[in-house]
Amino acid sequence: QQVQEDLNKQLFDNLVSFLRRSHSEFQEKTTEWTCRMKSREIPTAALVLGVNVTDHDLTFRSLSEVLQNNITPYIALLEAKDCPGIKNLMQKLMGQLMNCYVDVDSLEDEDYVQVSQNRIRCSMTSLTNWYETVTKKTDSETPSKKRTSSSRDWQSPPVVVIFKDMESFTTKVLQDFIVISSQHIRELPLVLIFGIATSPMIIHSLLPHSVSSLLCIELFQSLSCKEHLSTIIDKLLLTAQFPFKLGEKVLQVLINIFLYHDLSVQNFIKGFQLCIVEHFYSQPLSVLCCQPVDAKKRVNSLSHDQCENIRKLPSFRRYVESQVSEKQIALLTADNFLKEITQKLLEDLCVYHENYVSVLRCLHVFTSSLPKYPLGKQIRELHCACLENRVWETEEYESSLQLARMLNKSDLVTMLQQCVEIFVSSSGNEFDKTVEKLKEFLTQFQKLEAEAFQERDVSVSSQKELQKKTDLYHLQKTLLELKESRRSKKLTKFEMLRFEVVDYIDSLVRNYLVPADHKTLHEIAYFNTASVLRGHLNAAPRIALHTALNNPYCYLKNQALKSDGGRISNKAPDICIVYKLHLECGRLINLVDWLEAFSTVVMAVEGPNADAASSDQVDDIIHARFIRAVSELELLGFIKPSKRKTDHVARLTWGGC
């Protein structure tokens, strides 16, 4: 679990650093354009962030951090839910600004008192007053302390107000705020930043022209969430450093949730974390899922039980069966020998991962530029395909190879160069040969180029010859010859070489992109139970409820409840029967009829021995059971009391009103 915590930390670091990178460009612009502030217009940045609202929090946090470090200490983050009215907005704004001021020079205690006083009457004037005092103080008191060069550019650092979710603010509040602050823009250099989830047009639809003309808007586009995702996948899954890996199905589930449900990178990370937790919780051998150095130590300290666990792994069994019989016995009986072998296998696995990643990238270089993307545009798709089964057996791979054989030279050369880079940068030492080979290909291509010049000369000369001969017969003859030669010659040297290259890549793929389940001990590093994950992240409570009501046998394993298809037996729990009966009804249900039907069903169970004489007692019980079932249905939201007719309830689902 320590390992896992490390992973989490790294995960977030990655994300934050990435976000920072994406914003650095943006900040440069901000600094530029805050300089040229206009008299009445408030400089405004509209930041289009995309629909993945949940990720915005992180973005804004890092953004304000960066701004605070580089530009101005005065930053206020406002959220729509805190600001139902202009008064609350001002309060919030003041609070944040003054608190942050206090943070900056925490020596002055009186200021704190001042803050609390100010809170009582928050207005723009008090804000400007405050601002003046603050700037004066920093100017007069601490000229030496005056931080960073950026703030020296303009004597007064701007106050940045960030509206996190602009769409959810009330328009009235926004308008008021903008109008008011535009009045004070001379005294108070204000900069607004709007976070926008939909499209930049929203500003104009939210604000009337008179207000929006007060703003000087500049648009910024943050990177799309898809790109975030691919960087994360790149950094987490496609490296050999993380011992923990996702199985094919799990990855597919996570990506599907991302693409079809929320587009939220945070949720993706959450899913990933959950995978880690599940893996370490459910797989006893996950202790071995750590950095190779630790793994060796841990293997040595394995107990007998854990050794037995290893022996039980299906992939290990497969491995044992492929060995000679003496070795089999040794593996199955001697713990020490087993440990040795395990160490070796783990190392193999590690090496496999290293090779896998680089070859995968290499293959991606080839396939990502092919027309129609038979193996997918993104590297994650390729990764999934490779994890699923032997990629070279798939049709898509065939077709992509076909297409690769038709690449032109310049593309091929650049791709080869990229591959060389990838291999060189990868740590695996097995690739020296590969690099050499690829370099050889490159030189051959260069040679070819030189040859091609010559060839062209030749062909030109031959054509000249052709022109000389004006005889019709000869012309025909030469043309035929040419045709024949073309057909027989088939492949130029370039084509030959191209085939060679593609074949070589193919051989690499066959060597290194073996799906992980074919590897021994893959269970240690791979998490594969996608159903658990789906159940926890993407649950379907309605389906569960309906199955329970429609088919109680799914949960209660009693033979009496077993039934086919849509029928339920009459011995089912009361609520199921009542539910079934209510499905037969229209929008309104007569309670009396319902009760009647219910008691018929229940009486049938009780059988013929329920005589009319003793039925009074029974009736009460049935009545009570019915009441309970109906009120349970009400609790579940299937029905509600209706006033349209006495003793009727309205149905709320599918066909209800």
Partner: protein, 601 residues
């Protein structure tokens, strides 16, 4: 004729179950017919088509559909319906079918004839056979038929769309004679039925008897209907009966296509008509006393819980997850439980077994007066030992967040039963709870029950909550949860309203009591009048004067204000501007009250 007439009154149960049964009989006949006269099939199709030409277009369409449906039922014995355990969408989410009350009688006639004819062999053969020799070969034949019927029934469920036609027809026709004699039904449940149920296979029995109980009456009804409604129309019933099974595959395919394309239309059709077709019976006429909460509770306690063993097993399954829950809670996830059945006991068990030594807060969301504020209050007061009030829940939340951030040793487990309850499902309260749960040292574990509960969370809240979903279907009854729900059937406000009535009145003067009595009596006299608007003020004043209770308009008004303040009176202005007075208490309570008053006096 007379015999079915007598039994006919018991056919009320038709309401909910019958159509499958009718179909079953149709299919019975069909099945037999199919075997016997396969050669005649084609002929009968033609005849049927001819018959249709007489009827107007749309009618014909409807009938055709009906026939198709029946035909499909005949086929379905061979049809591979086996979709196994997976519940198909059609089954789970079926639309209600449109209701067309017009032409119902005719359609009923058309329809009713089929069973009328085909049932005959069924009736004459099966009971005797099953009664006589259970091991005979004919019995085997019967079993076979039943087996087929079951398959047909399966199919019938899926055909929920078309089914409603029949159901409605029957209902409509019967409602003429259906009166309150249904009690007889229990006694007259035909011996035949019981015998049949005792027949071959227990498994089949459980399958079919659900709806079987009322089948017999219905058939007789059908027969009777045929003869009464259609007595003038002496169409040879035989041809009609034969016409049911025929056109095979092509039609079946058509039906499927129809079904798909019609689904949307049917939805809107179902919603377009505002007419509600249900019977007019009320619980009042049921001659059964309403149960109050206490007796209900007692009775239910006496009744044995079904499938206790299985439920226990389910619970044990869930309990094995406790340690996992703890781990995941500590890793920053929050847990939400869903699934049918009360999850209260499960959470209680979790609390007692795991959380014994840690600070935890249990929130009974189903409690009708719970608010977010009270939750926050109990956190600040009980957990944080803070005395003092807050201006708004948001301030309070901020305070809590601050405290928890400052002191990392502070940990709190929050268990919420029914997070989706009436009081907590509001947007603002969910927002606050979500923010609370996003604190790393607050661990939230909650349960939801409502089918639409997940709709209350948007993306932002979901990410704050950071849920892990766990399906915990327990099938245990919602005892606590529903005890607060103002159930429709439970006698409400009975004792409470009565006692408040007596208490308030006891504090008033004798004259005031008299005034109230007058009004109450008048209201009870008019209790059978559904459009009773209340007593007009002028009339009431007149009456009061006659009884020497008030001497002026003003004094009466003063008294009435008193009543109004205690919610014992409601005034309504009628269309003519006259003030009407009404006691907003139900009649039975009022009667009880008057009786009690009489005793006192």
């Amino acid at each position: 004729m007379s015999q079915p007439e007598g039994k006919g009154s018991g056919a009320l149960e038709v309401k909910f179950v019958p159509d499958e049964e009718v179909l079953k009989h149709i299919a019975d006949g069909a099945g037999i017919k199919v075997r016997k006269d396969k050669t005649q099939l084609t002929v009968s199709v033609k005849r049927f088509v001819k018959k249709l030409e007489n009827i107007s277009d749309d009618e014909a369409q409807e009938i055709l559909e009906e026939k198709n449906y029946v035909a499909a039922l005949g086929i379905c014995a061979q049809d591979p319906v086996g979709n196994g355990s997976s519940v198909s969408g059609g089954e789970v989410y079926s639309f209600q079918t449109p209701k067309r009350s017009s032409k119902m009688a005719e359609l009923a006639a058309e329809l009713a004839q089929t069973p009328g004819q085909s049932v005959a062999p069924d009736h004459s053969e099966c009971p005797e056979k099953t009664a006589k020799t259970p091991q005979s070969s004919s019995n085997f034949l019967w079993a076979e038929i039943v087996w087929k019927c079951n398959l047909i029934l399966l199919f019938a469920w899926q055909r929920a769309v078309l089914r409603r036609y029949m159901f409605l027809l029957l209902m409509h026709v019967f409602s003429l004679q259906l009166q309150s004699k249904k009690k007889e039904y229990v006694a007259t449940t035909p011996y035949r039925l019981r015998k049949r149920l005792a027949a071959p296979d227990p498994y089949l029995e459980s399958e079919s008897e659900y709806s079987a109980s009322c089948s017999e009456e219905e058939d007789e009804e059908d027969q009777k209907e045929v003869s009464t409604v259609l007595s003038g129309r002496k169409t040879p019933a035989k041809t009609k009966a034969l016409s049911t099974p025929p056109p095979r595959n092509t039609l079946a395919k058509k039906i499927k296509e129809d079904k798909m394309s019609n689904l949307v239309e049917e939805y809107f059709e179902a919603h377009s008509s505002s007419k509600v077709l249900t019977s007019d019976r009320t619980l009042q006429k049921l001659r059964k006393r309403r149960l109050n909460q206490q007796t209900l509770h007692d009775i239910l306690k006496k009744a044995p819980l079904a499938y206790a063993a299985e439920i226990k097993e389910l619970n044990q399954q869930h309990e094995s997850l406790f340690s996992k829950w703890m781990l995941q809670l500590h890793l920053g996830f929050n847990i939400v439980l869903y699934g049918l059945g009360s999850k209260r006991d499960l959470l209680e068990k979790f609390r007692t077994s795991v959380l014994q030594d840690s600070v935890h807060l249990v929130v009974n969301g189903y409690f009708p007066s719970i608010t977010v504020r009270s939750i926050l209050n109990s956190i600040t007061e009980e957990v944080l030992d803070h005395i003092g009030t807050f201006r708004s829940p948001l301030d309070q939340l901020e305070f809590i967040i601050k405290r928890f951030k400052e002191d990392s040793s502070l940990e709190l487990y929050v268990l919420i039963h029914n997070l989706d309850s009436q009081m907590l499902r509001g947007e603002r309260s969910q927002q606050i709870l979500a923010q609370l749960s996003s604190l790393p040292s607050i661990y939230l574990i909650a349960s939801i029950d409502h089918i639409n509960a997940p709709l209350m969370w948007d993306q932002a809240k979901l990410s704050l909550y950071n849920w892990l979903w766990y399906e915990t279907t327990t099938f245990s009854p919602y005892v606590e949860e529903t005890s607060y729900e103002n159930s429709l059937l439970v006698q409400q406000s009975g004792s409470l309203a009565l006692s408040s009535l007596t208490h308030v009145l006891r504090s008033l003067t004798l004259n005031a009591r008299g005034i109230f009595r007058l009004l109450a009596q008048y209201q009870l006299e008019n209790k059978d009048n559904p459009s009773y608007p209340g007593l007009s003020f002028q009339d009431f004043y007149q009456q009061c004067r006659e009884a020497f209770l008030v001497n002026s308009d003003l004094t009466l008004r003063a008294q009435l204000t008193e009543f109004r303040d205690h919610k014992l009176l409601r005034t309504k202005r009628g269309a003519d501007g006259v003030e009407y007075l009404l006691i907003p208490v139900d009649d039975s309570t009022l009667t009880d009250f008057l009786e009690k008053e009489d005793e006192d006096v």
